[in-house]
Amino acid sequence: MKIMTFEELIRECSSKNKKIYELIQEYEAQESDTSIEKIRAEVKHHIEAMQSSIKTGMTSSEKAISNWCGDDCEKLQVGYSKRNALFGKLFEKIITYSLATIEENLRMGKIVACPTAGSCGIVPSVLIAVSEDYNISEDEQINALITAGGIGAIISNKVQLAGAVAGCQAECGVAAAMCAGALTQMLGGDISQILNAVALAMKNLLGLTCDPVCGLVEVPCIKRNPILAIHAVTSSELALAGIESKIPLDEVIDAVRQTGQLMSPMLKESSQAGLATTKTALELKEKIFG
């Protein structure tokens, strides 16, 4: 992305009188030497792939290779057939879609990495659930996903989006931030509200470790997806009311980067500490890998 910081994004958007997605799609078309229409068609293709992961994931309870995860989405749906979600149908939909997607991932099904495979259930769940319930047009969904992608790309100028480099704050954390931005765009937020939503989501996930049990994208990754999807919604709701992050977004990203550097490598996708070395985790490891 030609735009290196969020300050630059704000400046460019305001001087050209453009929305975030308009600027991002224009630059993306320029850089990949193609048309805006083609970029948008490609984004649409990605949304369709997300919808298809949700659909497939909701009807499967096939276990992962490890054989101890993969039926949570089914349990959730059975649970909701007996009682209503406290915060209503949309809440139910978001966490169901999120689990469906991330479980599809762990059973080697087809997903869209967003930004990574282990965080693939966050952005799609909110994007698609809200679109369905609020009749958001296809064009506006594309606008929202371009907004999310642009936000992720600008963050990745400073922070490599990999658990091994900066912990889970750079994977599920960034996914939640992108999701908060996308949702705020969909609900008609302005650029300041969008970026505040991103900042609020991001700064409340600083220091999130990547300590997967047995090194698999299963525990805690699976349940982290629905939980952080709701985290993104909360951030967006706050921002839409005009609540601002006291720390500007660029500085929050600097803090993510610094925190990532200060985190021990043992907590960054090496499964050498945290949840990965708990008694139960070590017993599971013995069981799976012998």
């Binding site: 290196m4 984004v43 099904g109 087809k110 990495a113 992608g149 047995c214 090194g215």
Partner: protein, 216 residues
């Protein structure tokens, strides 16, 4: 370093569960197939370090084989590859801390050994071919050749490329010893015509030349 674009963040559309251990493995297999560029009957994979330790739980083994068979990162048949494939396959698991955490040697038909690393987010690097060090990311169409080390080869080969009006993005050379076997590869902006490969083949002292398609 090239900064990230929209589709570096939202994508790839891939089969799970891991961009480095699944998508990266498939792409390593695909690159190996692109380099070898002939039917594979037998393949041996040696997985190192994290690939060896957690690869099975991530389908790294299946992904590597699927890639060698030409399957792409979003092919859901990969899950059942062992019951689909006609290729004879074998896996070895090793620890070698001098190697990248996610690395593999792929031996094809006992004729060619290709080593590579999965460096994160589905990106890969091919690091050696039959012992010759290379650095291929699959981002460019590439011409690779092995030849007897002697003066003038670079200019001869680059002339074939220039004559077809193809721009060279980068050029790398390596040799095992003076006058021994040398390797050379050109990264190109477009897919080169087969005639260039024929021209190079006809040069004296060229042992091997191939065109490596870039990864989609």
């Amino acid at each position: 370093m090239k900064s990230k674009g929209l589709f570096d963040v939202i994508s790839p559309i891939m089969i799970g569960p891991s961009s480095s251990h699944t998508a990266g493995a498939i792409r390593l297999g695909l690159m190996a197939q692109n380099i070898y560029n002939a039917p594979v009957k037998e393949v041996e994979f040696t997985l190192y370090n994290s690939f060896a330790q957690t690869g099975k739980g991530h389908g790294t083994d299946k992904g590597l084989l699927a890639g060698v068979m030409g399957y792409h990162v979003d092919d859901i048949r990969t899950k059942n590859i062992f019951s689909i494939t006609d290729i004879k396959y074998k896996y070895y698991f090793k620890e070698d801390l001098s190697r990248h955490p996610n690395s593999v040697d792929i031996n094809l038909n006992n004729e060619m050994t290709i080593s590579g690393n999965s460096i994160g987010a589905g990106e890969i690097r091919i690091t050696s071919i039959n012992g010759f060090s290379v650095n291929l990311a699959g981002q460019y169409h590439t011409i690779l050749l092995m030849y007897k080390d002697k003066p003038g080869m670079i200019s001869k080969v680059s002339k074939f490329i220039q004559d077809r009006n193809i721009n060279i993005a980068s050029l790398h050379c390596d040799r095992n010893e003076k006058g021994g076997t040398a390797s050379m590869y050109f990264a190109l902006d477009v897919n080169p015509q087969d005639e260039i490969i024929d021209d190079i083949k006809n040069l004296n002292d060229v042992y091997f030349v191939t065109k490596i398609r870039k990864l989609d």
